[in-house]
Assembly symmetry: C2
Homo-oligomer: 315 residues x 2
Amino acid sequence: MVTGGAGFVGSSLVDRLLEDGHAVVAYDNFSTGQRAFLANALTHPSFTLVEGDTLDLAALTRALRDCDVVFHLAANADVRYGTDQPRRDLEQNTIATFNVLEAMRAARIRRIAFASSGSVYGEAHVFPTPEDAPFPVQTSLYGASKLAGEALIEAYGSGFGFEGCIFRFVSILGERYTHGHVFDFYRSLRDDPTRLQVLGNGRQRKSYLYVGDCVDGMLLAMAKTRRAIEIYNLGTNEYCEVNDSIAWITARLGVSPRIEYGGGDRGWVGDNPFIFLDTARISGLGWRPRLTIREGVIRTLDYLQRHPALVEARR
Amino acid sequence: MVTGGAGFVGSSLVDRLLEDGHAVVAYDNFSTGQRAFLANALTHPSFTLVEGDTLDLAALTRALRDCDVVFHLAANADVRYGTDQPRRDLEQNTIATFNVLEAMRAARIRRIAFASSGSVYGEAHVFPTPEDAPFPVQTSLYGASKLAGEALIEAYGSGFGFEGCIFRFVSILGERYTHGHVFDFYRSLRDDPTRLQVLGNGRQRKSYLYVGDCVDGMLLAMAKTRRAIEIYNLGTNEYCEVNDSIAWITARLGVSPRIEYGGGDRGWVGDNPFIFLDTARISGLGWRPRLTIREGVIRTLDYLQRHPALVEARR
């Protein structure tokens, strides 16, 4: 089962699992997931789509009855608007993860992969940030809710023999990406190529990972990790400034906007001005990302240009 | 406001706050709290008792309307039975803490003290364990739920300007204690002084703190900490083996039971075989516990001997 299987990363994972010969159940409430992302999967005989909410424990339990492994990717993935709706992160991320674990327990399934986030490090003091960085202090409701999800999975590991992997993602880029700074910048420049509004001072340092590399990493770690719960950072061995990304995007689009900075060293309350994860642990399994951040940004931009309806839909 | 104000630590804090001249609202659902613990407080003109559940957001919001500070102590404090009822820790600890924060936000209150637990360190690898120990892996649903509560408070600090202190308690001992190994051993020896069943091998190393010292520490830290959220371990600068504690208890009671060990290096699934917290941070504020672990154990035992009804009630 892939929860959030109609989402950006989820649907990419679904396609890969089907290619690899697995039977797959995608579970999605289509709050942000898109049926179009499952167009290929829906033609596959080993694919089942269940429209349902992770807050519906009974439906979730029914849906994963015959599954062996759960990739729990369903989430409110929007780190930025936590303070507008604090309950959303609690429900969609923390309580939803509890429900997934309870559904698995009822169905006697014990293998789980969880899409967590580098935001659980809060504002890290060690760079690149390793999985055993000093005890973090949370700076966002999103990070708090993901940390709570991790903690639940670990406790189910200890208490109920659950096994699997927790993945702390950097921001993911690539095909089916519909959410984040490349999306926002692209849409803004398409509307008005003469100016670009940027949150913060543009000096925020961020890490990104191409979705194909992300899926590779998850599958490799799930294949090679046996017993107990293991935690892996998933990112590239580099970071870029927002200004770097702007330069790549404007060059690719052939535009020269006036850049208008919002000011300050972060984009919003709880924005982390520097994200750079140590990926030595997952690299130790033989994983290497194939795309650099720049290549990921360009790949994303090209995808958005080929899918104008997607860009319009999110207005 | 003191949530869990009718509980062991909560009612001790209520008494101290009243002594110090504060007006106090105790909020408690009496699931484990006891009206008898508030006998003194109820005679005090500045004391208000509100019987309510932390899961009832509307009642909670009404109750704290005129408060300035919330000491959030209400919790399922039973670390041992998490796997029997996983939902209890989620609801009573994580969701309840979310409700306290939301009620405070609605009432425009921003100062909070939170009773967390050393169990958030999981099985620590650094002893004594400092507040910034390596990123922990949770081993109990209780620890997971307390970590989630801490994370929410930190995020409310970042997102909504909340201020205050998170206290990671070791096990607390003293007057009104009704729950834990001293209680269990005392009751067992009262029933049958010839034998004592002990979970694990008796070599588990644990830390304890006297409730009066715990209350002192919380009040001192809340008085001296300004702005932002600070985290403090609260424990003694020592630990003991379960076997030490048994020796003190049997000597005090004048009994010589045959000790029957359950075996293994821990008492139950998720039991942490070694708890010893670094208290340098709170000591830096000038705090020193007045009682040793041994003195705390004896004080607890003497209290239980003076309150046979309490021991009977928990059967």
